[in-house]
Amino acid sequence: MMKPLHQVVSPRSLDELPEHSAASPLSIHDMTVAYRRKPVLWDIDYDAPDRSLIAIVGPNGAGKSTLIKACLGLIPMASGRVEIYGKPAKAQRGIVGYVPQRESVDWDFPVSALDVVCMGRYGRIGWMKPVSRLHRDAAMACLEKVGLTDLANRQISQLSGGQQQRVFLARALAQEAKLYFMDEPFAGVDASTEQAIVETLRELKAHGRTVICVHHDLHTVPEYFDHALLLNMRVVAAGPVGDVFTPENLQKTYGGRLTLLDQAAQALARAERGG
């Protein structure tokens, strides 16, 4: 049903990305972020592995969204710096894609699904130029990829929650980025949307992309992601899921909430059985 990614967006930009140096897609050095002088993130140091799917996991208030917003330059850092493929984040905006939390926008806004996906192309269109046919086609291809071709002209409030999330995903695809930040892309979506998103993430990885997701559901971390960053105002542990998803680390991250630990243990066991 879904076409491979390289057929729907311009092939050159996907398969022949200019080779960046071996630099990590995302290096965070010594990042501290504060809201109203109260630090929410302390001394974050992290190097994301290339071509991987990474989950940022942690309890509510751990600073997960704050971390990706600071990486994107949406909120100021009190100290530290962020490098993307070896260059300052500011200089790399053209290759960074973003999927915000679904609740962050007003879905009653007078735009269609296709209009929203076209926004993913805005970074490539001149300031005073309208959205050309070419860009519109590219956006349409991204909508097709997430299975929403039929709903392209629907006003966005007429979409279900899962469909809205897919529209946001399609918009990020339309950016043709190399590194993606996604803020809870699986929050409140139906089973089929969840599956569609997972497939898209895997395909992105297969094409050399790196995706960093804030993720809530510990169950699915081992199944969906290669790497995990356990966060609770500081980095508790980071690395391949199999290495860092240990009861001790989760205990440190979530602080003794045993039900969660049980879930994680079961999930790990399931993932190991499933290979």
Partner: protein
């Protein structure tokens, strides 16, 4: 002030018309010919200037207001408008002290613009550096600046021997005094607003919809916001003379809010808002040219209000009446589908679609009132889905087909909700025919096989094909 209005527009009515005494508060009814002349800008130079000017102002405000509304900055416009009063008064005083013409319009408007910007910046500053919310900050700035302006006016009144320098006309507006230059200013502002909306449509749209995403693209959201705010300042200052600072915000809010009822497309909404704003300005100025005692600014705002009310009630896309109608239709359709299912389920134990059922059976099965059962059956009958035989309802061939489809969809949804109970109900599209669109073929096949095992799957009317859900075995 009213006297001036009479003088300026006296020739609209012609000398032949006897004018009422000063105590006469009645409004002379204009003739149809006069109405036509004013509306088509042929009722003399001055009336034409006023009508053209306010029309332009309405267009400008309509365009700018769309983005202010969607960016939730409409009330900032109000704070800004009120804050212009001390600016006007301050400009008057400064000009007097340094010996310039204190009544020079560009000077006064420049003062208004400066003070308006300071007012808007104060709101931003309060929100940013304290924990006070925007609505409170707007209320504080709006009233303090306006109070300051009123104090300054009373000071000017003492200096000026009671004339206030004619400044109070900025509070309520006074179209009659509008000059050709003022009208040109409004045309210029309208041109700026339309040009900015056309050239920077993408930027305005994305910043209004999702500012964080715009920032992630590297855009200067602050700069784009500043530009939108500058347009609001332009419209407000240009509108001071025509509608006054108390009411100018209405032109920024009402036309876009009314336009929203007509369309779900941003560019259409912008065009509609410009049209509604322009129409309000035109109607309001025409009305007060015909009846000079009517205050123009207020009439313009009332015209906008009437258009808003009409849009809210009757606009097909989002108006209340069409929505109520759609709701009633949907309820009737749901009622008919329930009745179909009831008929199907009454016949199901016998394994036949032929069994008849009385009205009582139907409303007993659905725990309906007799009235709603009857009206549902009437609807089915008029659509040829059932026949009445000896007071019993029986499904026709088409009706049986529809009943199977409805029952199948209903049971699939039911099964889905039971199995995936953790999915929020808001994610379930219950409009019965949508099951194929909303769920994946694999999921439908899974649900169907579950129903088939229980013997509850009606024969599929249209083969589902994909995913092997070709359910023919539902009914023994």
């Amino acid at each position: 002030m009213t006297g001036l209005g009479h003088l300026a527009l006296a020739h609209v009515h012609g000398a032949a018309r006897p004018r009422g005494s000063l105590t006469d508060v009645g409004v002379d009814l204009p003739t149809l010919g006069e109405v036509f002349d004013v509306m088509t800008l042929r009722a003399g130079h001055n009336a034409a200037v006023v009508v053209a000017g306010t029309t332009m102002l309405g267009i400008a405000a309509g365009v700018v207001g769309v983005f202010a509304l969607l960016r939730r900055r409409s009330l900032m416009g109000d704070a800004l408008a009120h804050a212009t009063l001390p600016g006007v008064a301050g400009a008057f005083l400064v000009a007097m002290w340094i010996g310039l013409d204190a009544r020079s319009m560009p000077l006064l408007l420049a003062g208004a613009a400066v003070a308006g910007v300071i007012g808007a910046a104060s709101v931003q500053g309060i929100v940013r550096f304290s924990r006070i919310r925007e609505d409170a900050a707007i209320g504080i700035v709006l009233s303090v600046f306006f109070g300051l302006g009123v104090v300054m006016l009373s000071y000017i009144q003492r200096l000026d021997g009671g004339a206030q320098g004619g400044l109070s006309r900025f509070i309520f507006g006074q179209t009659a005094a509008m000059s050709r230059e003022n009208a040109l200013l409004m045309a210029g502002v309208a041109a700026c607003a339309v040009a900015a909306a056309l050239l920077l449509f993408k930027q305005f749209r994305l910043v209004c919809f999702d500012a964080d995403y715009a920032r992630s693209l590297g855009w200067s959201v602050g700069g784009i916001d500043l530009l939108m705010m500058a347009l609001v300042v332009l419209v407000t200052v240009a509108g001071l003379q025509a509608v006054g600072m108390l009411l100018v915000v209405a032109l920024l809010i009402i036309p876009p809010a009314a336009a929203r009822f007509w369309t779900d497309r941003l560019w259409l909404m912008t065009a509609a808002s410009a049209a509604i704003g322009g129409l309000s300005g035109h109607l309001g100025a025409s009305a007060s040219a015909l009846a000079p005692r009517l205050p123009t600014g207020a009439v313009i705002v009332l015209a906008a209000g009437v258009i808003f009310l009409f849009s809210m009630t009757f606009a097909p896309a989002r108006g209340l009446a069409p929505r109520a109608l759609r709701h009633l239709k949907l309820r009737a359709q749901v009622g008919r589908e329930h009745a179909l299912r009831a008929l199907y389920e009454l016949a199901e134990p016998q394994g036949t679609d032929e069994a008849g059922a009385t009205v009582g059976d139907v409303y007993g099965a659905r725990q309906w009132s007799e009235g709603s059962a009857r009206s549902a059956l009437r609807g089915l009958r008029s659509r040829g889905l059932i026949e009445m035989r000896n007071g019993e309802a029986a499904l026709t061939e088409r009706g049986a087909e529809a009943a199977r489809r409805v029952t199948r969809n209903h049971r699939l949804w039911e099964e889905y909700l039971v199995r995936y109970a953790d999915v929020a109900p808001s994610h379930v599209d219950r409009s019965a025919d949508m099951v194929e669109h909303a769920l994946s073929p694999e999921l439908i096949a899974e649900l169907e096989s579950a129903l088939r095992e229980e013997g509850r799957l009606p024969r599929s009317v249209h083969p589902i094909g994909r995913g092997g859900g070709d359910a023919q075995g539902g009914k023994r």
